[in-house]
Symmetry: C2
Subunit: 227 residues, 2 copies
DNA sequence: CTAATAGTGTCTTTTAGACAATATATC
DNA sequence: GATATATTGTCTAAAAGACACTATTAG
């Protein structure tokens, strides 16, 4: 057990990232089979030790972990909480700073190449240590706060159509929304901006107009959009 | 610098608590002069090292720190964020899990006995390390999310009158509220419950009815109450 | 009487959001 | 014509909150 300068034992510090994505309208989390002990062979969240020699701060740790373990770069992450327990990690007293990320499934290709897989967020199966509990907390967050925010947009590529956007909101909120009212509010609130382009392919019917998020208005949104 | 089982350096882990209270209608934070280095003699937040030998988890650490450094027990705390930086602590790479607490000033007597003092939350003066930044973040939280929640109630004793309650909300929100509308909403939303008792003393005028928070409805509240 | 608190009534504005159409574009 | 998307109109219900009172109780 490590010891800090004043002679007290100091905890192990790790970072774990709950990466959410949307697959077929269902919320999924990214997990990977652990390559070494503890819990070798068991699926767990993307995470790793804080390396004080190479990371300047926790943000660096998250970036390094996402890059090396899931091939992901330039990911927007949000700190969720810090969990701790004498018994949560077999190597001893440990502390994990948990982050959350949301990515469109199209951007997860590098992660899949590195062996990451998707599990249903509401039932990820057996995960290492307290990772099931962590996923539960993160899911609560994305569903609760997320539904009445611009969070659902994060699941989409940079450009998206109105029907795609509505589907993303419906998936996150878990309920159907009125088409005309949804459209009106998105536009009126200035949450999205037309890109000038149109949908590339559509089997039949009118081509959808493409939009992008109005970065300017991020965080402006609050509740609303219930049904 | 401590080293963890796999040979990487591991950070120093501490906990810091931003304790808010209301004095004369102004938001204040509890700080104390630091008894030892680093920043000995400089004022800082109530905080301390995680002691893995005596604390089972971070909640234990917070409890121990509040008890030993401020004489406070049974304090409701909320985890705010975890800050980190190679340079934030002179002893090396450190990580601080920041908690927030809100207490009526009446309950801070033990803290004052231990040398704690109050500083204006919006301008706490020079504090050790990154504690000024931490206070800024906490204040943003209590003002932003807090104003449209039951947070202002935390500043009051268990029993309080309607005028007291309104004053607390006004202090946190930084604006005047309409008396009749305020009263109506508090009652209608069931946020408070009559205790059956009356105000003990009043220089002149009618005695106020005393209420207590309806624990049942905590967290039910959301925005509203603008003016 | 004065002053503080308690309580009622009402009006305006905003918002959510439900519902019903119609219009347009594409195969 | 079938289908998906875009767009407009309208209506209801709820909520926020501003304002003007009246009522009650205490010194």
């Amino acid at each position: 057990m490590p010891t800090h300068p004043f002679g007290y034992d100091t905890p192990i510090a790790t970072v774990d990232v709950v990466i959410f994505t949307l697959e077929d309208g269902e919320l999924k989390v990214v997990v990977a089979e652990r390559q070494r002990d503890p819990y070798k062979g068991v699926e767990g969240l993307i995470g790793g030790w804080v390396h004080t020699n190479e990371d300047r701060n926790l943000a660096d740790t998250v970036e390094r972990v996402l890059r090396t373990k899931a091939g992901l770069v330039d990911v927007f992450v949000e700190q969720l909480a810090t969990v701790s327990d004498a018994g949560r990690h077999p190597d001893g007293w440990s502390l994990s700073v948990v982050y959350m990320a949301i990515l469109p499934i199209e951007e997860l290709a590098p992660a899949f190449e590195k062996g990451c897989v998707l599990r249903p967020a509401s039932d990820p199966g057996r995960l290492a240590m307290d990772h099931e509990e962590i996923v539960r907390i993160a899911l609560e967050r994305v569903r609760g706060k997320g539904a009445y925010s611009t969070i659902p947009m994060e699941f989409l590529p940079d450009e998206f159509s109105m029907p795609q956007l509505q589907a993303a909101y419906e998936s996150v909120m878990g309920e159907k929304l009125d088409q005309s009212s949804f459209r009106r509010r998105m536009i009126e609130r200035g949450l999205i901006v037309e890109t000038g382009r149109r949908e590339i392919q559509s089997s039949t019917g009118r081509k959808a107009v493409m939009y992008r998020a109005n970065e300017h208005r991020k965080g402006t949104f609050d509740r609303s959009l219930r049904r």
